[in-house]
């Protein structure tokens, strides 16, 4: 998707290993988000950021941490991956806190 890039697109890892997913935007939007998408659930918010070094927890934040050292980059880290964290992860950005989100293409993460 134009303006927002996620990496990697696919990742397979083992239980207990650390994993970092990267989101990069070129839109200079203030707000950035990490969601996970699982069958039977809508998109669920993990963490979000409302500025450089300003982050907050979402609905399903346990087991995840984030960092935002630059406006354009938002990192999601699984300190010790578990099988329950197998999911598709989407990064999103927005200009306002309550406005529509622009989503990245997603990262398929498999934890074996």
């Amino acid at each position: 998707d134009a303006g927002i890039t996620q990496s990697p697109r696919h990742k397979v890892t083992e239980t207990g290993t650390p994993v970092t997913l990267r989101c990069h935007q070129t839109e200079n939007h203030r707000y950035m988000y990490w969601y996970r998408q699982d069958p039977g659930h809508g998109l669920r918010l993990i963490h979000y950021s409302y500025g450089v070094k300003d982050t907050d927890k979402g609905e399903v934040s346990d087991g995840y941490s984030v960092s935002r050292s630059k406006t354009e980059d938002f990192l999601l880290t699984l300190e010790s991956a578990t099988s329950s964290q197998t999911s598709v992860y989407f990064c999103a950005i927005s200009e306002s806190e309550t406005g529509q989100r622009l989503f990245g293409s997603g990262t398929q993460l498999s934890v074996l």
């Binding site: 998707d1 409302y50 907050d56 979402g58 927005s94 309550t98 529509q100 989100r101 989503f103 997603g106």
Partner: protein, 115 residues
């Protein structure tokens, strides 16, 4: 808590027909609604949005209707095409007090286009 939901998980329509995808919401304080389209293997894509001071909003081949009385939202797609095959889901938020974490997503309806 109050959630956004969808009536049907799968909707099958003939190519060329109109499609109607429904969404129910229960938070009467929500005043901003968004429809997204998600094709297989891709991220959700914004289609159209509507604020609660409107009953109807039209885009290119799409129309969103909002009925605040019964807390119902629908997406109408005119002259459905094969490229419309995707999962469609709605989202709601409150522009005052909703916060960055206040956007709630429904689970989605899979629209299947029959040739």
């Amino acid at each position: 808590g109050e959630n956004v939901g969808l009536h049907l998980p799968t909707l099958s329509v003939q190519e060329g027909d109109n499609s109607i995808i429904n969404c129910a919401y229960s938070n009467s304080a929500s005043d901003y609604f968004i429809w997204y389209k998600q094709e297989s293997g891709k991220g959700p894509q914004f289609i159209i949005d509507i604020r609660s001071n409107m009953d109807k909003r039209q885009g290119q081949r799409v129309t969103v209707l909002l009925n605040k009385t019964v807390k119902h939202l629908s997406l109408q797609i005119a002259a459905t095409q094969p490229g419309d095959s995707a999962v469609y889901f709605c989202a709601e938020n409150m522009t005052e007090g909703g916060g960055a974490d206040g956007l709630t997503f429904g689970k989605g309806t899979h629209l299947i286009i029959q040739p």
